[in-house]
């Protein structure tokens, strides 16, 4: 067996069914081998390696398993870097493979050689270079173990060409990784203390983080919330983990989050934070964040506890295990009656709901989200690019099932949405996949229309075309005296015509009455159908708080007062 066969057999043994990639000189042997495994391993040819990484990343987020991408050495591998970083920031189990020059040439600056192990060190959970074909199987097994367990994250594997073509003579066994032993069970005493704190609290709030989705703990979260009337706000990464139409759902919190969520956190006497890392986009100024609250911080990564905000009660472990234990412990005690706090929250929540019917010309971007709320099934999947459209989605889109809202949170990577939609569709072919995107973001990955066409992958990119790099323009308007610098896109290109050039359907929409019709057509079509929706040029996504400000100092939005209920 050659190295290449060992690579592919190892991937398949680790449940890989799809690989997103782009070939080149140092992976030609591996691409040759792919032909021998076409039935078991489908290769999706993208048009830029960054798209391969994003597609594999979204595939992982949607499926709950690992996603695999593949590139050649040098520029092919460096094109993966943004995608690997995106996966790292959002703790996604991505396996990124790249070829390299033969080991005999390593360090000689040979053609298309680059030190990818060095480059990816700060943006991977771990990385490897395989110099011995006998180590291929063990290394790939370890890579999957590391990527998927504990706090998930990307693993990069560098495979020099001679490792690929040499024979595997004596396959090394896969040994246990000595320094990798994630804590999964929460400490029972800490869980008991948490139960006591929750029962004693007058105004508790749960902050659900992305960890809820990763540990598949949505059901446990809902049980805990419902049994004890605990309002739930989610971080951006956790959107979809808790039904956003639930009476106890506060929606997303943070800089562009919902007022009710930020105010509730500001008023809470207890925060139960689960699988979140308190990024600056959530906390604003950490000194004034949740000033009145004691904080229970549950996370699988002990390094996140106490890193950004204080933790009064830390519990290290897997969210699902800990929530299950917590529910067990708390059930012994009496169920808490509906509290005045929960009632207050429910009322204010309705006032913050903002689901009024927006009518305006040009189109208000929120209108598209409201139409999507009507058109989407719960099981359909939404991906996004980065910018205003992403925050409109975070704020106004309603999602109810985990792994149906896929977006680059930590990294804020423009151009993530469209390749992510491709990966999502490959993972869940029966779901419709809508990419909520911006004219700036989408243009960065527009070449992937070819992937959709050639690989017959149906997605629905919806471009919120405001003719600007809208989020930067918004900040320039609000914080730089409206001095617009480098943000004008001027409705270029004509996206529908571009779709047409790729042999796909593109529809330009400039009247709000046409949105639902265009959506219907896109959903009905068998092929990727692009909607270019021309929205109001200078609209702002509000409410928001400024970077580093107190998290309850929000301005704008549909409720102008600071919340008389509090």
């Amino acid at each position: 067996m050659k190295g290449t066969e060992s690579i592919i057999r190892s991937l398949i043994a680790n449940k890989t069914k799809h690989v997103f990639g782009f070939p080149g000189g140092q992976v030609i042997p591996l691409y040759d081998e792919l032909l021998n495994f076409e039935k078991d391993l489908r290769h999706v040819l993208v048009r830029h390696e960054q798209a391969a990484a994003h597609a594999a990343d979204a595939y992982a987020r949607v499926s709950g398993g690992a996603g695999v991408c593949l590139a050649t050495s040098g520029p092919g591998a460096t094109n993966l870097v943004t995608g690997i970083m995106t996966a790292y920031m959002d703790s996604v189990p991505l396996i990124a493979l790249a070829g390299n020059v033969p080991t005999t040439l390593l360090g000689n600056d040979a053609f298309q050689e680059t030190d990818m192990v060095g480059i990816t060190m700060p943006i991977t959970k771990h990385n490897f270079q395989i110099r011995d074909p006998n180590q291929i199987n063990a290394t790939i097994n370890k890579a999957f173990t590391i990527a998927l367990n504990g706090r998930p994250g990307p693993v990069f594997i560098d495979i020099p060409k001679d490792t690929q073509v040499k024979e595997v003579t004596k396959q090394a066994p896969t040994e246990k990784i000595a320094g990798f032993d994630p804590v999964l069970q929460g400490h029972p005493e800490q869980i008991k203390k948490a139960a006591e704190m929750i029962l004693a609290a007058q105004s508790p709030v749960i902050i659900a983080g992305g960890g809820i989705i990763m540990s598949n703990a949505s059901a446990e979260l809902a049980s805990l919330s419902e049994a004890f009337n605990l309002p739930v706000t989610t971080t951006f990464m956790a959107k979809s983990c808790f039904n956003e139409s639930h009476p106890l759902a506060l929606g997303v919190l943070g800089m562009h989050g919902r007022k009710v969520a930020n105010y509730a956190v500001g008023e809470a006497d207890l925060l139960i934070a689960i699988g979140c890392r308190f990024s600056d986009r959530i906390t604003g100024d950490t000194k004034t964040f949740a000033e009145k609250a004691k904080i229970i911080h549950i996370d699988i990564d002990s390094a996140e506890i106490g890193k950004n905000v204080r933790a009064d009660l830390p519990i290290v472990g897997d969210a699902k295990n800990i929530l299950t234990e917590l529910i067990n412990v708390m059930k012994i005690k009496a169920k808490k009656a509906n509290s005045p706090w929960a009632e207050k929250i429910k009322k204010f929540r309705r006032e913050c709901d903002c689901s009024f019917d927006v009518k305006s010309k040009p189109i208000d971007p929120r209108k598209i989200i409201f139409e999507l709320n009507k058109a989407l099934k719960d099981t359909d999947i939404v991906t996004t690019g980065t910018g205003q459209h992403q925050m409109y989605a975070a704020h106004f889109l309603k999602r109810s099932i985990p792994r149906t809202f896929i977006s680059s949170g930590g990294a804020g990577t423009m151009g993530y949405g469209f390749p992510a939609a491709i990966g999502a569709k490959v993972a869940k072919p029966k779901s419709e996949v809508v990419d909520i995107d911006g004219d700036g973001s989408f243009a960065m990955v527009i070449q992937e229309l070819a992937t959709c066409k050639e690989e017959n992958i149906k997605t629905i990119p919806i471009i919120f075309n405001n003719s600007y790099l809208g989020m930067v323009r918004q900040w320039q308007e609000l914080f730089f005296n409206k001095r617009y610098s480098g943000v004008t896109l001027n409705r270029t290109p004509n996206f529908a015509k571009v779709a047409d050039a790729y042999g796909l359907k593109g529809i330009t929409v400039d009247r709000e009455s046409e949105i639902s019709k265009a959506l219907k057509e896109a959903f009905k079509n068998d092929e990727t159908t692009l909607l270019d929706i021309l929205v109001k040029e200078e609209s702002n996504i509000l409410p928001m708080f400024s970077a580093g400000a107190k998290h309850t100092d929000m301005f704008g939005g549909c409720i102008q007062n600071k919340g008389e209920l509090f």
Binding site: V117, M121, P122, G179, F180, A303, V309, R310
Partner: protein, 166 residues
């Protein structure tokens, strides 16, 4: 970073001992982590242990207990790192230092006497210079070096702090 109270939060020399698998790139992983998370380290040394394939890395830094805790946790996330020990208290702390001192006919005897008095060894001597070795606590080495300065120090090389828990 939240601020603790009392003596534990003060900035002082703190030492971590890491047991790590001896893989290529482990020092780069550690150094890169310190750099990008803004942990200022004073010294770092690495060497073999009694167990084959396992290295002992000793890191010293001038910091408070909260930062040290972050460093411990972040370092432990590096896959090759098997164990992390805080060696700040209750450990033997030593450093090794080589010093080349200018020597003349007149002062050679003074240097030799002074060296002997401080428990240092003379490893090499010629008509121009003397190489002295001292193994001691870092503060004592500081003082020793300071005292040698009037003779004229040509070159100096310190290993950084080594430590073992008692």
């Amino acid at each position: 970073m939240a601020n603790g109270n009392g003596s534990n939060s003060e900035k002082k020399r703190r030492i971590l001992g890491l047991l790590a698998e001896d893989q290529p790139g482990i020092i780069e992983r550690l150094a890169g982590l310190f750099l990008r998370r803004g942990f200022n380290i004073d010294t770092i040394i690495a060497g073999k242990t009694a167990q084959e394939g396992i290295s002992h890395v000793v890191v010293s830094m001038n910091t408070d207990s909260k930062t040290l805790e972050q460093v411990e946790k972040q370092v432990y996330k590096i896959i090759e790192v098997v164990k992390v020990n805080d060696l700040t208290e209750n450990s033997i702390i030593r450093e090794h230092c080589l010093i080349k001192v200018t020597s003349t006919e007149q002062n050679r005897k003074d240097i030799l006497n002074f060296t002997q008095l401080n428990g240092a060894q003379v490893l090499d001597a010629n008509h121009k210079s003397i190489i002295v070795e001292i193994v001691s606590e870092p503060e004592k080495i500081d003082k020793f070096v300071e005292a040698l300065k009037p003779f004229g120090i040509k070159e100096l090389s310190r290993t950084g702090i080594n430590a073992l828990a008692k």
